[in-house]
Structure formats: structure tokens, C-alpha cells
Amino acid sequence: MTSALVLEGVRKSFAKNEVLRGIDLDVAEHEVVCLIGASGSGKSTLLRCVNLIEPIGAGRIFVAGEEITARGVDANRVRRGIGIVYQAYNLFPHMSVLRNVTLAPTRVLKLRRADAQHRALELLERFGLADKADDYPDRLSGGQQQRVAIVRALAMRPELMLFDEVTSALDPELVAEVLEVIRELAASGMTMLIATHEMSFARDIADRICFLDDGVILEQGPPDELLSRPREPRTQQFLQRIIEAGRL
């Protein structure tokens, strides 16, 4: 079986600052991989590179067996099959929720408006947002906005979903509803790469957790193993600070 996502020696620098220093990662189909690590360890950059929003400096990335970092690959086509959800939702504020969700399916996949709306309403319904279809994003709570952002990505029927600290900007009481959505996606078999600070959520949902430190995957393994018995001193240090902050 081909892997859903493979990263080989991926490097990325901003000016002289090397953020990713050789990332190797293999994500199987239907696998849920969580990326943990301190801010600045390269989690977000890694996700943005997979989505080709950031060009990589060296290495190769494969999605479903195809090298997407090869010369001449149409980045727009690649992005169609990969959904990404950002920390700051990034909904389009001048469009209703429904138009936010139908924009890409109609413009990129060339779906008929009625079909796109049908697809959008089905998804909104599934995640308890059907009554918000005509609202503008400003009117929604952070949790609702983030769920809409997830729905917007799902409307493209991606094979791979990337989540970039999607609960970090939320009030604590709104975190659960968003995590619930991601749990449901995991249950439905979606392949996901999730950067998160929510350790108990990661323990719950991940098949595997990767600890990023200073641009490399320092340690990885099943959640229980990595979170309970980390081998690397840096991992132990990081988890210790998380525990002290009461987040685990």
C-alpha cells in the first residue's frame, strides 16, 4: 500500500534561519499523526510546506505516491486534494458561511452551484452548523468559525487533512466542539496530520505522535509510549513543562 504522505529530508529556511532541518516522515492512509513541540519548532512550517504554500529548500514530498515537489507539478491541483485548517480560521469575511464553503468547489472543481450548495449544506448539517449557512463569519463564535473552516476544507473532498494548532486561538470552552469534529473525521478514516498543543487530545486521537525540536523529528511513537515514557531528554523537558502548565 502506498503511503498517503511521505517526507524525505525536507529542509526549509527563512533567510538564514533554518526552520526545518531534514524532516523524514511517513504517514499511512487513514493514519492520524500528531505533531507536538514548542512554538518555533517548525510544526506550522512543516504543514505549510506539505500544502506547497511554502516552497521547500531541499528534500522531497510525496502525496499518494506522487512527488508533489517535483518540477512542473501544478501546485493548484495538489492543493485541491489537501485540506488545511489554520489557527486563525481565515474565513472570508465578506461571504456568508455557505459561500465560504461553496467558493472553491464551484470555482476550482467547477461543480454546479446547486451541487456545491447541496454538498456544503450536507457537511454543515453533519457538524451542527446548518442554521448558520446564511450568517457572515463575524457573527459566529470562534469555535463555530473554526468548524466552518474545517467544513470549507472538507467540501473539496481532500484525501489528506492538515490541522495547524486549530484550537490555539479559541477560548477554552470552545475547544471541545472543534476537537469533536476532528475526532469524527478520524473515526471516518480521514488521513490527518495535526499540529497541536492539546496533549490529552493527541493522546486520544493520534495513532502516532512526533515530537519536533529545532527543525527535526527528535522522537516519535505511539501516544502512550511517547507521552508516558519519552526517551529523549528534550522530549522529557518539553512534556515536563506541559505538565507543569496543567495541560496534560
Binding site: R79, F92, H94, R107, V108, A153, M156
Partner: protein, 293 residues
């Protein structure tokens, strides 16, 4: 005289959610505020009127600038000539809005490939913002027809419009650019992540937000354009200002200028209120639930 009034590229501002009322009409809280406002307004304006009407030269000024008979006599002709101003700024504005948007988009394209296009846009904006409008009008209005090339229009109105389009496009493209820059890059990232092309992202995500934010300064430039249509009269076209000059010269009375002024103001003020309304409507729609809009 080259009407360089108030064109900034200043960003206007996501309307502040502080007050729903207009700042000018914000009279403070309750009836006390209103009555204080009324009294102070009356005092200030009363004092001004007293000062002016008691000036030694007032009777003379009144006769030459505020002669009701002159006003009535000259008004119909000037109003007729004003139609030419309206025609000029309506035609010019359509081209300005379209070409300026194109320029602004060219200038926002990233990467070394687009450098020549960006350079052209920058040189254009720098040049035409630097040259006085009246010079561009004179050069084109007198120069272009003098070339006597076959197929080149000789109408002064035509060249007046071309000159205004050239000059105002430079200003308006800067306004658009400010709007485009004010849309957070994450919006573009979100659009591109969904698989939209650069052009689709611009068209559906960036530009609609950018243009909405710059409607007030766009209107500001539109008003400037309306006033600068009077400069086309310099080429000999009989527009409102030229007509009022003719009338004034014939009667040695300046009241026709007042008639022209009234016409200009009559068209710019409703436009300003209309823009306020547009902004308010947009804000309400975004803040209220979608169903109610």
C-alpha cells in the same frame, strides 16, 4: 487652480464599531447635548453672518457675488453647460476605475518575473501624480490634435477626458493598492490552500475586500475628478465653469460662478451621503445575521 484637493491614499479604515451614528451628528448624550449643540451652532454662525454683513465692502460684494437676478438669468445656461461636466466625469470615471484596478493588481504581483510590470506601474503612478493636471490637459488637448494624424480625434472634450483618465488613474491605482495591501496575507493563503489560482484568489477573495475598504477614498477622488472637469474648459469646451466665465465677463458680475458652484456641490454632497450609506449597509450586513440583511 489645478484642483489638487485632498487626494490621499490614506486607508480608510474598517469602520470602527464604536458608534452607529455619524461622527458629525453625534451630539452627545440626551437632550442636554442637543440643545447645547443648537445654541453653540447658532452663536458661531450668527457671529459669522454679522461679521460679514457688517463689513464695509459687503454691499458691493453682495451685488457682484450674490445677485439673485443674475443668478436666475445665468443658471439655465450654466446648468446646460454642466451636462458636459457630468458627461466628462461619468465617462472618465469608468475608465479610471477599470485601468487603475489593473495597475494596482500588476503592482501587487510578487516575484522577479513580474518586475517589469511592477516597474511600469510604479513609473506611471509617480509620473502622473507629479505632473499638474492642467499641464497634462494642455499638452494633450492642444498637442494631440495638432499632430494632425489621420484617425486621431480632434475633439477637445475627448482629449480632456483622456488627460483626466491618465492623471486620476495614477491616484486611484494607489488607493486600490492600499486596499489590496490592507487585506491580510492569510486570506490569500486560505484561498490558495483551497486550490484557487492566484487570479481566482484575487478576484473572489482579495479584491472584494480591498475595494470595500477603499470606497471612501475612491469617492474622494471621484469628487476631485468632478471638480477637475472644469479644467477641460481651459481647452475651450463650454462646460459649466467656462460658461459662467462667459456670463461673468458679459455682465461684470460674478454671481454666475456661484451658480456653477451650486451645481457642483449639488452633485457631490448626495454622492458623499450615498457612500456613507453604502459603508453602513455593508457593516450592518456583516454584523447582523445574514437572514436579516
Amino acid at each position: 487652480m489645478a484642483g489638487q484637493g485632498g487626494r490621499g491614499t490614506g486607508l480608510p479604515l474598517e469602520p470602527a464599531p464604536v458608534s452607529r451614528r455619524s461622527r458629525i451628528l453625534d451630539l452627545g448624550d440626551g437632550r442636554g447635548g442637543v440643545s447645547i449643540a443648537v445654541v453653540s451652532t447658532l452663536l458661531v454662525f450668527g457671529a459669522l453672518v454679522l461679521l460679514i454683513t457688517h463689513a464695509p465692502g459687503w454691499p458691493e460684494v453682495k451685488k457682484t457675488f450674490f445677485d439673485w437676478g443674475e443668478f436666475k438669468d445665468s443658471f439655465p445656461e450654466i446648468a446646460h453647460a454642466f451636462k458636459l461636466n457630468v458627461k466628462i466625469f461619468c465617462i472618465a470615471e469608468v475608465f479610471i476605475l477599470a485601468i487603475a484596478l489593473l495597475l494596482a493588481v500588476l503592482r501587487s504581483l510578487p516575484g522577479p518575473v513580474f518586475f517589469p510590470l511592477r516597474l511600469i506601474a510604479i513609473v506611471y503612478a509617480d509620473f502622473f501624480r507629479g505632473v499638474p493636471t492642467i499641464l497634462v490637459i494642455a499638452v494633450l488637448g492642444f498637442g494631440a490634435p495638432a499632430l494632425a494624424l489621420q484617425g486621431i480625434p480632434t475633439s477637445t472634450t475627448f482629449w480632456g477626458i483622456v488627460a483626466l483618465v491618465l492623471v486620476y488613474t495614477a491616484y486611484v491605482s494607489e488607493v486600490y493598492r492600499a486596499g489590496i495591501d490592507s487585506v491580510h496575507p492569510s486570506q490569500d493563503a486560505a484561498a490558495r490552500s483551497l486550490g484557487l489560482t492566484r487570479f481566482q484568489g484575487l478576484r473572489h477573495v482579495i479584491l472584494p475586500q480591498a475595494v470595500r475598504r477603499v470606497i471612501p477614498p475612491l469617492l474622494n477622488d471621484f469628487i476631485g475628478l468632478q471638480k477637475d472637469t472644469a479644467l477641460v474648459g481651459f481647452l475651450g469646451a463650454i462646460e459649466a465653469f467656462n460658461q459662467s466665465q462667459i456670463d461673468a465677463a458679459a455682465t461684470f458680475n460674478y454671481t454666475p460662478y456661484l451658480a456653477a458652484a451650486v451645481l457642483f456641490v449639488a452633485i457631490t454632497i448626495p454622492l458623499a451621503r450615498f457612500t456613507d450609506w453604502l459603508i453602513l449597509r455593508d457593516r450592518r450586513r456583516r454584523q447582523a445575521s445574514g437572514v436579516a440583511a
